[in-house]
Symmetry: C2
């Protein structure tokens, strides 16, 4: 597996991509067996190079080595930091060490971060929203896109290339076999649609309102975007541009996939699993194929996948054991992440089982309600009673079944 | 690997042990690569068999098959359920199916649980605290030991055998090569000391005050205990009995291991890890070898091990990243488990780093303080500033270093 890929995108625009197969938990938090890439872009002009974002800190030396195979670091005139998250800004100090004269361009907030994070004091020009830079026949417009997903996030639009460099926005997990989405097989495209939604839910989900605002803002700028170049994953061009913007809008507003039903459960000894199996059977009889994520003594689901699935769910069923008179700990953790990351517009059915005392149901109900989730239903009973409460439970499921009718 | 082991402990007392190598997460929560056993005991009398606890539900058929190799299920007169957690009670319905006449003995609360969990209605006699049963020349005394770790927990003392059957109390994770602790090699004994402490912290830690009360109660009963027979892990006899009771008392009162220092950290991009490495170096120079647990993009520590280590720690350093203006999620989860499971008498130093806004430090401080942790110190700063704050930080570490002097 070749980890470093150089791609000449156009005569003047280049990509240095690192394919990261080693990172197991993105941000130290999200399990990504599919890997991730860091895409750094270089604009070559006859007045010098402009670099847009870099790779993460531990790859700093490799980045400079790879860069030097294609360009001279001394020719860098500007380095644009779209945001200061270290997976993109981490190699900046390595470039600066080889070329202290380059000027860093970014949001005014980035100055303090770069100085603190990397103990460097580069020449820094803060760019205003809408400001343009002209260099060697190219016009670069900077657009403030706050909270995608840090406060200082900006994008760059290279007019003559029709290229919008979007940093984390429009980014995806996964390591594409080719640079552009239109070069991928249908199967790989399906994979990347999922990886984008997963990345969105995990990383940007909390700031989805800002996605809507910023996509709206971009659409009013009358740019002629022919390529969207995110800093993670696959690139988009031509006819795919409108499609990915549309997908992103839908993710931003939190539009659920119609009928999508997700069951997340924890089972200590199999009692919760028994009732989950009853529900699956009932739902499937009614032509609903739920997505199942469980925490049992044999297997734990990936929380990164749970958040991705729940983000786009119309219906969420949480079935949990009670633990020391509280919610089963990992289910509380997952519930808090669901609250932080996913839209409130879904139907939620909470099923709580207990051995010697019920509490998880009311605890989760309070937690979700306090955070604006309104369509809640709760049913709580002692382990083993699932046949006795099955009638009640089927009533509660009827909302999901009807919704699918 | 033979999963089922039958051991004749004495002329009349037998053990049926299942060695569980498959359960990855005990209780669906605690990672146990070391495995676990379920120990069921059978007392053979000339008036019938008394069974004490069984195996978990999914092993029910296997349990009856194994039982039948050595005894006749129809000869079971009494089945004692020390507590109703399904890893011990799960095979009861399978025994009942073969012998509906056996009488279940247990705490009065167990009746409702057995009927609910397994949809059976066996003959049930509630045993009072201190009540004795005489059968075929044996005297069995039942002792209520509430909240070890369920409300209905009892123990049995077989007078003529000097055997105290303790269910989860004195239990350990791990699969011993021999039945008794005194049969193990020194290395394996060290392992089981750890497995007992880990099991204690994970499973019983929340109820440690009840351990103290119940051990005190046991010691006042003037029993002549020659063997302690827990339902998980290794057994104790002879000279080891006093030792394990002493160990258990110390765990119950939450006595820390002198000088034990644990660092638990999360690092998204390596900044927290940088400061952790500085601290390790400083502590080691001062002859303190901290135990390190981290959550990074490459590796996550086992929470089961963290809780075991923190339980006996004198000093705990929590170093965390800030995430979306809150505590890094997995560190909040771990902190909540530390609060639920471990004693409040430790020194805690909280180190919180942030990129664009600090909050984790005050959030964790509030969380620990609210739950009775008093010896807290907090230091919060922007990523990259560890050299600048190192003087301050060294001051805070001096408490740990001095404590070791």
């Amino acid at each position: 597996m070749n980890s470093v890929v150089y791609t000449r995108l156009t005569d003047n625009l280049h990509m240095l991509q690192y394919r990261d197969y080693e990172t197991k938990y993105f941000e130290g938090l999200w399990h990504i067996p599919e890997g991730v890439t860091y895409n750094s872009f270089v604009l070559e002009t006859n007045e010098g190079l402009v670099v847009f974002d870099t790779w993460k800190r531990s790859l700093g030396k490799l980045y400079v080595d790879e860069f030097s195979k294609h360009f001279d670091v001394k020719d860098i005139k500007y380095l644009v930091t779209h945001h200061m998250e270290p997976d993109h800004s981490g190699s900046i100090p390595y470039l600066l060490a080889s070329n202290p004269n380059m000027i860093v361009l970014g949001h005014v907030l980035s100055k303090g971060m770069i100085e603190s994070f990397y103990q460097v004091k580069p020449g820094f020009n803060a760019v205003k929203d809408g400001e343009t830079l002209k260099l060697g026949g190219f016009t670069i417009k900077f657009i403030h896109t706050p909270w995608l997903h840090w406060p200082e996030t900006i994008m760059s639009y290279i007019e003559e290339e029709g290229a919008l460099l979007t940093c984390d926005a429009f980014g995806s997990y996964g390591i594409p076999s080719k640079a552009y989405y239109d070069e991928l097989s249908p199967e790989e495209r399906t994979g990347f649609t999922r990886y984008m939604a997963k990345y969105f839910a995990n990383i940007i989900g909390h700031f989805r309102d800002w996605v809507v605002k910023n996509v709206e803002k971009l659409s009013q700028l009358n740019m002629k975007i022919s390529t969207i170049l995110p800093a993670h994953g696959v690139l988009y061009r031509g006819g795919d541009v409108a499609g990915v913007v549309e997908k992103y809008k839908r993710l931003g507003v939190g539009e659920p996939i119609s009928g999508k039903t997700v069951i997340v459960y924890s089972s200590m000894y199999g009692f919760v699993e028994d009732i989950v199996n009853l529900m699956i059977e009932h739902l499937e009889k009614n032509n609903i194929k739920p997505v199942i994520h469980g925490f049992t003594d044999k297997k734990w689901s990936d929380i990164s996948e749970i958040i991705a699935d729940v983000y786009q769910a119309e219906n969420l069923i949480i079935a949990t054991a009670t633990y020391e008179a509280k919610t089963f700990p990992i289910m509380k953790h997952v519930s808090e992440l669901i609250i932080e990351k996913t839209p409130v517009n879904k139907n939620i059915l909470i099923i709580a089982l207990y051995g010697w005392g019920g509490k998880a149901g009311s605890e989760l109900e309070e937690l979700f309600t306090r955070h604006g989730f309104r369509n809640l239903d709760v049913i709580e009973f002692r382990a083993g009673q699932h046949q006795a409460v099955w009638g009640q439970l089927k009533d509660r499921l009827s909302k999901i079944v009807r919704g699918n009718g």
